[in-house]
């Protein structure tokens, strides 16, 4: 079988996309879960502030989410652009 | 020297069996050791209860061991598999079966050790609630075993379906990817469920009269946290049952393998994270049961957001399978 350069690059890009998204999903997943857990704890202590705390939780999670989104972008670039 | 296909398949079956029973035993041993350690602490706090604590630990361990026994069954089937005349594709199916079962058993084994340990601690604190604590522990550990059931189902499909009519290129990558996808993605939910069940069991020990509400909240949290292993299972099914045309190109095998790795690894984080969320929610419900409805709602919102990276992984996997 003859290995062709372009084919190899494309294959490597696809493998890279999978690994990037897979590993990139671990950190935000745990981090956002932790943020949400702490928010639950705080709301349990102080239920009157539930609205404010939920908003704060969502903002915090959105920021932690960013590395996940970077991974997604990199994966999509590797799939469609390379 | 030419090595025949049969020999390769036989070797792959042995390696797969090693993966299954090795990882399965590691998971079960870590869980059991952890529970035994906490039982020791509990006994040192309250030595007069050592009999009840040891019994509680044993009941928890017996259930926690199920994932290991699943792995053992799969490993024995692999060892005794008759490989004569099997195509080379079976080698990858057996490797995938071993990975899927073994990795899935790690999370479940470690995870279900946690409620067992918590129950020992709880019995030492609140011996009057012995029966309620044990019930919650059993429910929690039994649910922790579910991710390993998904791993076992995939392993059985890889073992018993005849793949010989598929083209070797690129089906081998799909078979391996299917095993990796469910195997890795089961680790997260297994551990996460253990973290939640741990807090729920401690909570029941703190306030036995709220055990009904607590067990319900715990079950909601556990069910949502299991969604990533279901994604992993879905990707495995797609990889196994949607055949791809024969192709020698590297892209053709890189895409399914990558899809499996992507969904597998991507399932770990959200599984653990959602478990942590549910653990904190359950802990607060145990302190103030009136807050149950509000906390369940916040927990579900938080879990849904943590889920997003798992969904990204699913999307990327599906793109890799269908678009490339």
């Amino acid at each position: 079988m003859e290995i062709q350069g372009a084919d190899m690059v494309r294959a490597a890009a696809l493998l890279g996309a999978g690994i990037a998204m897979g590993l990139g999903a671990i950190g935000p997943g745990v981090g956002e879960g932790y943020a949400a857990g702490k928010a639950c704890e705080a709301i349990g202590r102080n239920p009157k502030e539930a609205g404010l705390l939920t908003r704060t939780m969502l903002v915090g999670q959105a920021v932690s989410e960013s590395t996940g989104i970077y991974s997604l972008v990199v994966a999509l670039l590797l799939i469609f652009v390379v | 020297m030419v090595i025949s296909d049969d020999l390769w398949v036989q070797a792959a079956a042995f390696v797969g069996a090693g993966f299954a029973v090795g990882f399965g035993a590691i998971g079960a041993a870590l869980g059991e050791g952890y529970a035994a350690g906490r039982a020791g602490q509990a006994i040192s706090h309250n030595p007069s209860l050592s009999d009840d604590i040891v019994k509680t630990m044993l009941i928890g361990q017996a259930v926690a061991e199920s994932a290991g026994i699943f792995a053992l069954v799969v490993a024995m089937l692999l060892v005794f598999k008759d490989v004569e005349g099997e195509s080379l594709l079976s080698a990858f199916a057996y490797l995938g079966a071993g990975l899927s079962m073994g990795l899935a058993a790690i999370g479940s084994g470690v995870g279900s050790g946690m409620p067992a340990g918590a129950a020992c601690e709880g019995v030492a604190r609140q011996p009057a609630a012995l029966s309620t604590i044990r019930t919650n522990m059993l429910v929690g550990s039994a649910v922790c075993q579910t991710p390993s059931v998904f791993g076992m189902v995939v392993a059985f499909m890889l073992l018993f379906i005849d793949w010989a009519d598929r083209p070797f290129w690129p089906t081998w990558a799909a078979l391996l990817g299917a095993g990796i996808s469910t195997g890795f993605s089961a680790i997260g939910p297994g551990l996460g469920n253990g973290i939640t069940a741990n807090e729920a069991t401690l909570g029941v020990a703190r306030q036995p009269e709220t055990s009904g509400t607590l067990t319900n909240t715990m079950l909601i949290g556990l069910t949502v946290a299991q969604s990533t292993v279901i994604y992993g299972f879905l990707v495995s099914l797609i990889l196994l049952f949607i055949p791809k045309p024969e192709s020698m190109a590297m892209v053709a095998w890189a895409a399914p393998l990558s899809a499996g790795i992507c969904m597998g690894l991507g399932g770990i984080g959200p599984g653990i994270g959602e478990g942590i969320t549910a653990a904190y929610a359950v802990r607060r419900v145990a302190r103030d049961v009136e807050q149950n409805v509000l906390l369940t709602r916040v927990m579900l919102v938080g879990q849904a957001v943590s889920e997003s990276t798992g969904i990204y992984s699913l999307i990327v996997s599906l793109l890799l399978i269908f678009v490339v």
Partner: protein, 128 residues
Amino acid sequence: MESVAKRALALTLAACLILAVMGRLAWAKGLALGGLVSVVNFALMAWLLPKAVGMSRRRSEGWAFGSLALRFSLMALALGLCLYKPQSLSVAACAAGLFVVQLTLLTDRFLPERWREATWGVNERWKT
């Protein structure tokens, strides 16, 4: 603990008898073997694992691994026997039999109170 083992054995025996009456002798024998090994495994665990209590974390994990290796090889032996003679011993039934103790523990909750008290160890001392 003894009554859990007894109930698991009774459950196995009943299931075996039903299977034998139905004429599935290989299933009955496989199930009997699996159930027996499951109970022996539980008894071994009840004997070995309490010794790990009070050890340090690392040592208790090592001990658990050792006991697990012993008990798993026992179960592997039973499964291996079935796979070696699949005509007279059903592998699937043996695998199902290995979970008899777990089944007993998980279904215990649904039994009448009067039976449960003995096995579940609802401690009379602490009843209010």
